[in-house]
């Protein structure tokens, strides 16, 4: 979910990588939801060309997905279609983790694959031809086309790379439950989950078919679907009719008859690996090595399967929940102290409302101190409080831990902290660069200290990002 500081963090990342104009467009999309080109122009007050360029960059780098929502026109009109742009919050955040993705490929495959992935991460998406060109320019020795092809094959086999989604899929309108239309009666409009559903629907409509997703074989060789399918056109960029208000997306002309496949990193697979690694680490800390081996083998075995995500997630659910609890309890311990830690754990395990007296008895906290501690945690939104009025002068306070809102609150604090780490790192880096006068140049010790500071900030951010993934992605 895109929390307030989550959005600030995402915009910060986009600013760093692409500049303030692109960031402005992105900010509007994140805060307002999917918008048309005209709406973006209006809200950002930028020129149409600036907005178009920004959107192109964001789409290129998989931070925005365009789509058209099929909507029934008015009486007598046919269905209207208008291109909208949806910001992909999670994908923007992945930009913080590119080093982790590269490290996974480096470890599991080889250097060639790592370089290919690097190219994809740096450029957002590439065709095979572009990858070869890039490889050629990087190395002085001869043409590496077959090595690149081989590398790509390995990456596809491991699902680290996938075909890019359709540039502007048609997303069918969600049918509200009506007594007349029995065909799609099972789909009901969930109003309060609408924004989440829109992203899911768009991505589902845009994504290539599973059979095609990790396949090198292009449609020219293997024309199964034909080009007549309108809502399921995987990754063909060239030759599609441009719709009203849409952009001219990147076209690569090749020697072959205009059929070009664009490839990109498959974030889903990297997240799966990271999730596995995190679970194994957590299990290792509390159980013996035998249990760790069993878990590892189980996860490795499910890797090759297609519909693995759901069953896998439920298996790991307990481990992830336990890790999340540990993280929050650690914050409570460090921020509010040991007494608060016991109190929080009591309420967290209990799951129900407990009155102050019972809390102080069970946790061995002074009856006079308990209310103060509880109040502090409540003020910071870590606890929920209810008041029971028994008599004019006799109120009883009841306390509870509400996990769902608390988890979201903690995640927002983590986004805030990640942003802070990033800003402070930039500030420290600027301090180092500001040396103008050679006499003021840093001493060896000072330079070493600045280096250590940077290492500390960077490693803290990587560690915090693991915790963010634990709450947001896993």
């Amino acid at each position: 979910m895109a929390t307030p500081y989550g959005i600030k963090l995402a915009v910060h990342l986009i600013t760093n990588h692409f500049g303030t104009l692109v960031a402005k467009v992105c900010d509007n999309l994140l805060r307002r939801g999917p918008l048309t080109l005209q709406q973006v122009i209006r809200y950002t007050e930028l020129t149409p060309q600036q907005v178009k360029n920004s959107l192109l960059i964001l789409i290129q780098h998989n931070c925005v997905q365009a789509f058209t929502l099929e909507s029934q026109g008015g009486f007598g009109d046919g269905p209207k279609a208008n291109t909208q742009y949806l910001a992909l919050f999670s994908n923007i955040l992945h930009r913080m983790r590119f080093p982790k993705f590269l490290e996974i490929v480096s470890r599991e495959l080889d250097q060639e694959c790592k370089e290919l992935l690097e190219g994809l991460l740096q450029n957002g998406r590439l065709t095979l031809v572009q990858m070869v060109e890039r490889a050629k320019s990087k190395r002085k020795d001869g043409c590496r086309e077959d090595a690149v092809r081989e590398g790509l094959t390995k990456l596809l086999a491991a699902h680290f790379v996938e075909r890019c989604p359709a540039p502007e899929p048609l997303v069918p309108e969600q049918v509200k439950v009506e007594t007349t239309s029995k065909k799609r009666g099972t789909k009901s409009a969930k109003i309060n989950e609408e924004s989440e559903t829109i992203e899911q629907r768009v991505l589902a409509a845009a994504g290539p078919m599973e059979a095609q997703r990790f396949s090198m074989i292009t449609n020219t060789e293997f024309d199964v679907n034909g080009e007549t399918s309108t809502d399921d056109s995987p990754s063909l960029i060239v030759g599609e009719k441009r719709k009203r208000d849409s952009l001219e997306l990147d076209r690569e002309s090749t020697a072959e008859e205009g059929e070009v496949v664009l490839w990109r990193a498959n974030f889903e697979e990297f997240l799966r690996r990271l999730r596995h690694m995190a679970c194994i680490e957590n299990v290792r800390a509390s159980l013996d090595d035998g249990a760790v081996k069993v878990l590892k083998a189980k996860l490795d075995a499910t890797r090759g399967l297609e519909k693995k995500v759901k069953t896998e997630k439920s298996d790991l659910k307990k481990i992830i929940e336990s890790a999340q609890n540990d993280e929050v309890e650690s914050i409570v311990l460090k921020r509010y102290g040991r007494d608060a830690y016991r109190i929080f754990r009591l309420l967290s395990k209990n799951g129900r409302l407990v009155e102050t007296d019972k809390i102080s008895d069970t946790t061995f906290v002074e009856k006079k101190d308990a209310p103060k501690i509880l109040y502090k945690m409540w003020k910071d939104e870590y606890l929920h409080m209810e008041k029971l009025v028994l008599a004019p002068n006799r109120n009883i306070l009841l306390w509870k831990v509400n996990k769902r809102p608390l988890w979201e609150h903690v995640l927002d604090e983590m986004f805030h902290a990640a942003l802070n780490l990033s800003l402070r790192a930039a500030y420290e880096w600027d301090k180092e660069k500001e040396v103008i006068n050679p006499l003021e140049a840093m001493t060896k010790e000072e330079r070493l200290k600045q280096k250590n500071i940077r290492i500390l900030l960077d490693s803290s951010l990587l560690k915090l990002d693991d915790a963010i993934m634990l709450f947001h992605n896993f």
């Binding site: 600030k8 800390a285 509390s286 013996d288 540990d326 993280e327 929050v328 309890e329 650690s330 914050i331 311990l333 460090k334 921020r335 040991r338 830690y341 016991r342 754990r345 009591l346 008895d361 069970t362 946790t363 061995f364 906290v365 002074e366 009856k367 006079k368 910071d380 903690v410 604090e413 983590m414 805030h416 902290a417 942003l419 802070n420 780490l421 800003l423 402070r424 500030y427 420290e428 250590n452 500071i453 500390l456 900030l457 803290s460 560690k463 915090l464 693991d466 915790a467």
Partner: protein, 243 residues
């Protein structure tokens, strides 16, 4: 800390004292009698001197003199309440102050007997660590046999201590499977083991968020990128980076 911990005061509140057989009630002045009856009427809840004054309208000097006299005659005694340690409360000697005003078995003179509680907690952890897996009854039994304390604990009291240790995350509550290390314990029975493999000396792992200044900061909700409180001006950061 010596093994022979004396812990008579709080726990003895569970026992009831007998009033003096020769009660010198007949030799009370009128004021003393009024006050005594008032105090007695409050039973085990005790009463504050100011409340006594309000209800009887006896002037201060007479009130204090009467109270002193009643105390000397061992008809009333002073107690400390946990809610208002500074206020003088009195109770008739035949009553023991209720749990509500003393705080209960673990309270001594209005405050938690933290030293004793911590000692007892450490003792329990040691027992659990040494025996690897242990039930509540086994812990009680071990304490009794060790003679480390000169008071008797009830099962409930030890259970309270053990539950607090679970909340401290020093020990884990588990259910016996009847197999392996549980083979001497009936299936389903609650037992306890140390939380981490390292046992006594282990430190709980600090989370990622708790390792950085923002994680422990009390002002995080007020901090903004370019506000008065910001990451670039933050003193906690400066301290953290000054190593």
């Amino acid at each position: 800390m010596s093994a022979g911990m004396n812990r008579s005061q709080g726990l003895s509140s569970l026992k009831r004292k007998q009033p003096d057989s020769k009660s010198p009630i007949e030799s009370l002045t009128e004021h003393e009698r009024i006050l005594y009856n008032l105090i007695r009427s409050k039973q085990d809840m005790a009463i504050w001197t100011r409340d006594m004054k309000r209800e009887t309208n006896i002037p201060d000097n007479v009130l204090n003199k009467s109270l002193k006299s009643l105390q000397a005659k061992k008809l009333i005694k002073e107690v400390v309440t946990i809610q208002n340690k500074g206020r003088k409360h009195y109770i008739a000697t035949e009553f023991e102050p209720s749990k509500e005003i003393t705080g209960g078995a673990w309270y001594v003179e209005g405050s938690l007997d933290t030293e004793f509680i911590n000692f007892l907690k450490k003792h329990c952890v040691k027992i659990i660590y040494e025996q690897k897996i242990v039930t509540l009854e086994e812990i009680l039994d071990t304490i009794r046999r060790s003679r480390a304390f000169n008071v008797e604990f009830t099962t409930q009291q030890i259970e309270e201590i053990v539950n607090a240790l679970v909340l401290d995350n020093e020990i884990l509550e588990v259910k016996s499977t009847g197999m392996g290390e549980f083979n001497s314990i009936p299936i389903g029975k609650v037992c306890y083991r140390c939380a981490s493999k390292a046992g006594l000396k282990a430190e709980p792992k600090i989370g990622a968020m708790a390792s950085i200044p923002c994680g422990v900061c009390p002002q995080i909700s007020l901090c903004t990128p370019d506000g008065i409180i910001s990451p670039t001006t933050c003193v906690y950061y400066t301290k953290w980076l000054d190593f």
